[in-house]
């Protein structure tokens, strides 16, 4: 019995030591998947066209409002603080703090496009807001900026994007959906929206937009979902 325990301890110890020695050596499958993930990120980025537009759809394509799923990671539906504003920062000439009214005074974009969720479903809605490229211009984003990070008040949910996808003409900060103000389940008062990324990249309940020289992962991305997640 004593010997058995010793052997068991030895095995446990070896297991822990191998894990500490690093996943790459102890788990060839994980190493392979990470390498292929990098390769696929290159493929996705090469396939992405900064000018190709997702087709705009007619009102008849709209998904019934109650059938369009909406997710958040907090236990309860997140509601914005009374003094809500959007901070724009990072490598910018002019860091900004924007109110919803400030955003609504900027050039408005309306689009009705198909949404693609990582789960496999699609749905259609109209979105109203301001291009992220307009925000970059207004803030004077530095040429060293390669990534844009979006942060939220949904328990710290965030995502970072490649600059090209963020500057896509259909990538917007949306304050409206289907002709009305954004409702809390879809990210009120302001969310990121774009038809060129999977849904989990389109951060709801926005608080910050940061123009950065490096990528900063994301809530789902850091758990194993693709970082580029282009559509």
């Amino acid at each position: 019995m004593a010997r058995l325990l010793t052997r068991r301890k030895l095995i446990l110890g070896l297991g822990a030591a191998t894990m500490l020695a690093g996943c790459e050596k102890s788990r060839p499958a994980a190493f392979f998947l990470r390498a292929m993930g990098k390769w696929n990120q290159g493929v996705e980025s090469a396939m992405f066209s900064p000018t190709r537009l997702a087709p705009e759809l007619p009102p008849s394509a709209d998904t019934p409002a109650d059938a369009f799923p909406s997710y958040f990671i907090s236990d309860d539906m997140p509601f914005p603080p009374d003094n809500w504003s959007l901070k724009v920062g990072g490598l910018v000439a002019k860091p900004m703090v924007l109110s919803l009214d400030d955003l609504k005074r900027m050039a408005r974009v309306d689009l009705r496009v198909r949404h693609h969720c990582v789960e496999g479903w699609s749905a259609v809605a109209g979105w109203h807001g301001v291009r992220v490229s307009e925000i970059a211009k207004a803030a004077g984003a530095d040429p060293r900026v390669r990534y844009v990070e979006f942060r939220s008040f949904d328990s710290g949910y965030w995502s970072s994007w490649d600059l090209e996808s963020a500057m896509h003409p259909q990538t917007i900060l949306a304050y409206g959906m289907n002709g009305h103000e954004l409702y809390p389940d879809h990210g009120a008062p302001l969310r990121l929206y774009s038809p060129v990324k999977l849904g989990y990249k389109t951060v709801k309940y926005l608080t910050e937009v940061n123009f950065l020289p490096n990528p900063t992962g994301g809530y789902w991305e850091n758990q194993g979902y693709e970082w580029f997640a282009g559509v």
């Binding site: 066209s49 693609h116 496999g120 479903w121």
Partner: protein, 223 residues
């Protein structure tokens, strides 16, 4: 299975050349993991048709594939496996197809309707015991050619519909060929079903002709 052929082209070549044998065996683990990870991905939304307009004709809306048929553990894990191995499956398929065409193997493997339809019908009649004598065959019979050619078509459709649902905006024209994202998703699952049906029939038939299995290891006789 490889009868002596009058065509001198085949005299020096084994019934199953090395390239074809390698492609065949490499396919098996790749296809298993691709199918399993695909079904794990499907489990995240085990339905067909967009939100709010799911297709009425599909009888299994909301029914997840059984756990034993899935691979990858969870959605992200399955996606990582699926997108990693897809390239190796495509590469294996391309090597096979280039060899298939360049070596002339297509001549004795491809289903050519004018040549192979009568033989395929007679072979089918033989298998269902409508006739007693199998039709004469050369390298493959018509039914084999039909099956092995069909599965190449299924595989092509599987890859193309997969690319369409991978990038329905960047490859919008490909998605449009299939009738849009949600229709392409149907095609992607449908082609999997056809491939699985092929594999079942293939396994039953090679079990009835065990020499074919041996040939897929050794290459078989020349000529």
């Amino acid at each position: 299975m490889a009868e002596a052929s009058a065509d001198p082209r085949w005299r020096k070549r084994k019934a199953q050349p090395l390239t074809i044998r390698l492609a065949h065996w490499i396919n098996i683990p790749l296809l298993l993991i691709m199918a399993g990870s695909g079904l794990q991905i499907f489990s995240a939304y085990p339905a067909l048709g967009p939100r709010g307009a799911q297709y009425a004709w599909y009888p299994l809306q909301g029914v997840s594939p059984p756990g034993w048929a899935t691979f990858g553990g969870w959605l992200a894990g399955a996606r990582n496996w699926h997108f990693a191995l897809a390239w190796f499956l495509i590469l294996n398929g391309l090597i096979y197809l280039v060899y298939f065409i360049a070596s002339g193997e297509w001549r004795r493997r491809l289903f050519i309707p004018g040549r192979d339809t009568p033989g395929a019908i007679r072979m089918f009649a033989y298998y269902v015991r409508a006739i007693r004598q199998p039709p004469p065959m050369d390298f493959y019979n018509g039914l084999q050619r039909l099956a092995y050619t069909s599965v190449i078509v299924f595989a092509l459709v599987e890859v193309l519909s997969g690319l369409a649902i991978y990038k329905p905006v960047q490859l919008w024209w490909l998605a449009a060929i299939f009738g849009g994202y949600d229709a392409a998703r149907v095609v992607h699952l449908g082609a999997l079903v056809l491939i699985v049906l092929f594999v079942i029939a293939h396994l039953v038939l090679v079990a009835m002709h065990p020499r074919a299995i041996l040939e897929m290891f050794t290459g078989g006789k020349r000529g």
